[in-house]
Symmetry: C2
Subunit: 167 residues, 2 copies
C-alpha cells in the first residue's frame, strides 16, 4: 500500500485511434478491483453517478445489464440541453462487457463497445475499452466530438466514488 492509493485522481485516459480498423481504444487505470469496475458499468444507480461530463445529471430510463438486456439514459447539462443514448448488452460477464452504443442525435451511427478489466495487482485495475465504428469517418467524428471530456470527467467521478468507498 502506498500513499498514492488515496483516491487521488489517476492520469488521464489514453484515447487512441486504431491504425488498422475503425476503432477507438481507451485505457485507464483505477485504484479498484476488477469487480468494482464491473459493478460501476452494470449497476444502474452507480453508472448514473459517474458517466459523462462534469455538471451533467444522468437519468437512466431503461437498464438491464445482463446478456440480451438494454439501456437508455439521458444527460442534462447545466444549460438544460438534453442528450439521449441507448444500446443493448450483448455480453455481460465479470471479465468482459460487450454492448452497442448510440447517441440519439445520430441514430444510425452505432458503436460496438467492449470493456475488459486487467488486474494490475496491489488493488489496481486497468480498464480497456474499445469502440468499433462502421467507417473511419464515423470513428474520427467521435474522436472530434469532444468525447474525451466526458470520458475523463466520468472516470474522475468514478475515482471519487471509489475513494469514498461507495462501490
Amino acid at each position: 500500500m502506498t500513499t498514492s492509493n488515496t483516491g487521488a485522481c489517476d492520469a488521464e485516459a489514453a484515447i487512441e485511434a486504431d491504425p488498422t480498423v475503425p476503432m477507438i481504444h481507451i485505457r485507464r487505470d483505477f485504484t479498484a478491483t476488477a469487480e468494482q469496475l464491473f459493478r460501476a458499468h452494470t449497476d444502474r444507480e452507480l453508472y448514473a453517478r459517474w458517466v459523462g461530463p462534469a455538471g451533467q445529471s444522468v437519468v437512466v430510463d431503461r437498464w438491464d445489464a445482463t446478456q440480451g438486456g438494454a439501456f437508455r439514459f439521458r444527460g442534462d447539462d447545466s444549460d438544460g440541453a438534453e442528450q439521449t443514448f441507448h444500446g443493448c448488452f450483448h455480453t455481460v460477464r465479470p471479465d468482459r462487457i460487450v454492448q452497442t452504443f448510440t447517441w440519439d442525435g445520430m441514430p444510425d451511427d452505432v458503436a460496438l463497445e467492449t470493456m475488459t478489466f486487467e488486474d494490475l495487482g496491489d488493488g489496481r485495475t486497468r480498464l480497456h475499452a474499445t469502440s468499433l465504428c462502421d467507417s473511419f469517418e464515423a470513428r474520427d467524428g467521435w474522436l472530434r466530438s469532444g468525447m474525451e471530456v466526458g470520458v475523463n470527467d466520468g472516470y474522475v467521478a468514478l475515482d471519487r466514488l471509489l475513494a469514498a468507498g461507495e462501490l
Copy 2:
C-alpha cells in the same frame, strides 16, 4: 407483373469483403416487398423457417425483435450437431435493423449486423446486409467458415415461403 415473378429462385447472394474496414457486405434481391423482408427478419416463427443451411432445423429459445430486445436460437443439423447463436437488437425500424450476432462456438467474436431494404419497384426488394467485425482476421474467418452455404440456403428457403404466400 412479369412471369419471372413466380417465386423462382433468385440469383445467389453477393457476398463481398469490404476493402477498407473489417466488414462483409451481402446483397440479395427478392420478389418481395420491404415490409415482407422486414417481417422475415423480425417474426419469430417465420425466421425459424428460413434461416441457416438446408437440412437444419432451427429452434428459437429467445426472441424479442424490438429495439433493446434480444434473440437466441439453435440449429440442429441432420447428424445431430447443435450450433447456438445469440445477439441483441439495437435498432428495429421498418427500413433498418441493427443487431449483434455471435456463434457461441466463438463467444468473444461479436459481429454488428445492419440490414436495410431497398425497393426496386415491381414488387422486388434488394436486401443489403453488412457484418462488421473487430478485426480483419475475424472477418476473414467468417468468410472462410462456409457461411455462404447458410446464407444462400436460407434465402432460397425464404424465396419459397414468399412464393407460397406465407409472408
